[in-house]
């Protein structure tokens, strides 16, 4: 078996092992760990778009919300019909959850395709704005769909998310993104990032690469949304606004744009930071934004980017 596959297997075994001991871990720590895991999935998937492929999407929270709503709808509306009144066994629930997450991911991927095909012709600031616009439109639509709870959101989503599912999907997201960018096909993402015109000159279809990155990124954002919904048990449209998108973008930039390990570290740090700053509750967000500005001024290449002497723009 090739090495990455071994890593994936090891990570899944570790996830299962950890979840076996999860009732011995402090519930607060478990919650923080779940939050970290979900953010890692979001950051790693956005890194494929913003980091490796060099596009600038500000709408990741929109795809997350599509996944969250779709997965929650599957669990809430289809779940009772399939599992019956009793709720089914743990194994049945597990399969149900997997189906809901995959449905959420596919729905988000489809949304990514719909958004990506027209907008990826644009570049830089303009692409950022169009994706931001789509993210906000998705939010307004969810606010107006009565069937999905409107502005109040969906409540009473079954709490299926466990540390096992989160870690398993973290492993899967990291595995897929790493294998993809290291494959022969995946070099195209980096080529698109480095020089679009030169890539096209040697015959790469850069638009297709951008769309593929966008769709895969959206898929994992959708699964992260599904995990989030089944973790918080309630979702509202305003929970997925453009502040959330920015939070994910910051993780990617701090991690060094196109550096999966750095992005994972940044996701861990940025999820822990507000928790650690909790004693100074009032000022913590001020400190957070100040850190962001100082980071950009002092280390524009990202906090965890240690490739020295290779400045990327």
């Amino acid at each position: 078996m090739p090495r990455p596959h071994l890593y994936l297997l090891a990570a899944l075994v570790a996830a299962a092992g950890l979840s076996h001991f999860s009732d011995r871990i402090d519930p607060y720590h478990l919650d923080v760990l779940t939050g970290i895991g979900i953010n890692i999935i979001l950051a790693v998937s956005l890194n494929l778009v913003n980091g490796y492929t060099g596009q600038f999407s500000l709408g990741h929270a929109g795809f997350m919300s599509v996944g969250a709503y779709l997965a929650a709808a599957v669990s809430l509306f289809l779940g009772p019909k399939i599992l019956g009144e009793a709720g089914g066994t743990a194994l049945q629930q597990g399969f149900m959850f997997l189906a809901a997450l995959v449905a959420g991911g596919l729905g988000a991927a489809f949304a990514g395709l719909v958004v990506g095909v027209p907008s990826l012709r644009l570049k830089g600031d303009y692409l950022a704005l169009v994706t931001l616009g789509f993210g906000e439109i998705i939010r307004v639509i969810f606010q107006n769909v009565e069937f999905l709870g409107g502005a109040l959101g969906l409540n009473g989503i079954p709490a299926y998310t466990s540390i096992f599912w989160v870690l398993a999907f973290v492993a899967l997201a990291v595995f897929v993104v790493t294998c993809l960018v290291n494959s022969t096909y995946g070099r195209g993402f980096l080529a698109t990032h480095d020089d679009e015109i030169a890539s096209e000159a040697v015959g790469l279809n850069t638009t297709r690469y951008k769309i593929v990155a966008f769709v895969i990124g959206a898929f994992f954002a959708g699964t992260a949304g599904g995990l989030y919904g089944h973790f918080k048990m309630t979702i509202t449209p305003t929970g997925f606004d453009f502040t959330k998108s920015i939070e994910i973008v910051v993780m990617v930039i701090m991690g060094g744009m196109g550096n999966t390990l750095g992005v994972i570290l940044a996701a861990v740090l940025l999820t822990l930071l507000p928790e650690l700053l909790r004693p100074i509750a009032e000022y913590r967000m001020i400190l957070y934004s100040l850190l962001l500005i100082i980071l950009m001024l002092a280390r524009p290449q990202g906090l965890f980017n240690f490739k020295l002497g290779k400045a990327k723009s």
């Binding site: 600031d125 704005l129 616009g133 789509f134 930039i253 500005i293 950009m296 524009p300």
Partner: protein, 296 residues
């Protein structure tokens, strides 16, 4: 018909405010080619300066209102120049992405500081100008709407004069065309860029006061939506183009008011973004912008 006229007037007074904010975005984009995300929060600070000045200056007087308006413009101009000096200047010439993120950081900083220092609960903005309603048949126009439209129009004319009739305005246009060449002929880019930020932020401050006159509930996050929409207005008119920003603002305000009055009112926040997407896809240079081919 009278309902149509009423909506048109409401739309124009909202649009005039969008136009004032949009001018700041467009001028900064013109000289620096980046989106100043913090602009919408400068607008918010403008409202709060007005709120606090309103406590010491007697309400319902014309001169008091003008003092508050000028105070907010001055305060915002200083804030804008300070932001440029501390956060953006060092990043000039670097990758646009970093400047964009810094701008987002400054925006978050202003919002969260506002929540800590002003408080997160909405405040009621004082009625700084004397107010009255004028009715023409079934048409009702409030004095505040007239003030908004008149002040916005005067400021836009003043801006046009500054940009096209003064030395610093000529320098601004030179930097916008080609920063390096401007420097070669003796333009001090730092001064010009600082001035641009000051000018744009002053307009945002005026917009903050005018907005609060018509929607007198202010809070630290009030800038986010008007800011995004004003940006859409700037793109709609053609970013970097001053008359375009004014036109875009008026159009957007009018469209939004009409949507708000129709059965689709709950979608009014989505309309601006839908317009943005359509414009960027079919005419990225905007209504009045010049289309330029990107050279390799």
């Amino acid at each position: 018909m009278s309902e149509f006229l009423q909506q048109l007037i409401n739309g124009l007074s909202l649009g005039a405010i969008y136009a004032l904010i949009a001018l700041g975005y467009t001028m900064v984009y013109g000289v620096l080619r980046f989106i100043n995300f913090a602009h919408s929060d400068v607008f918010m600070v403008g409202s709060f300066i007005g709120y606090y000045l309103g406590k010491i200056i007697p309400e319902n007087t014309i001169w008091g209102g003008l003092v508050i308006l000028l105070g907010a413009m001055l305060g915002c101009a200083l804030l804008g120049m300070l932001i440029e000096r501390l956060a953006y200047r060092r990043l000039r010439g670097g990758p646009t992405l970093n400047v964009l993120i810094t701008a987002i950081g400054v925006s978050l900083l202003l919002e969260y500081s506002g929540q800590v220092f002003f408080g997160a609960t909405p405040r009621t903005f004082p009625s700084v100008f004397p107010s009255a309603n004028f009715s023409f048949g079934s048409l009702v126009i409030s004095s505040n709407q007239i003030i908004v439209i008149v002040v916005a129009a005067l400021l836009m004319v003043a801006l046009q004069l500054i940009v096209y009739r003064t030395k610093i305005g000529t320098a601004m246009r030179a930097v916008s065309l080609n920063p390096k060449a401007a420097q070669l002929v003796g333009v001090n880019n730092d001064v010009v860029i600082s001035f641009t930020f000051g000018l744009g932020s002053a307009l945002a401050g005026a917009g903050g006061i005018l907005y609060a006159l018509n929607y007198p509930s202010i809070d630290p996050l009030m800038g986010v939506m008007p800011g995004l929409k004003a940006f859409v207005a700037a793109v709609l008119g053609g970013i970097g183009n001053i008359p375009g920003a004014a036109l875009g603002g008026l159009l957007l305000g009018t469209v939004e008011t009409f949507v708000n009055g129709s059965q689709w009112s709950t979608y009014k926040d989505a309309i601006a973004f839908a317009i943005l997407i359509i414009i960027l896809l079919f005419r990225p240079a905007g209504l009045l912008g010049k289309f330029t081919v990107e050279k390799v």
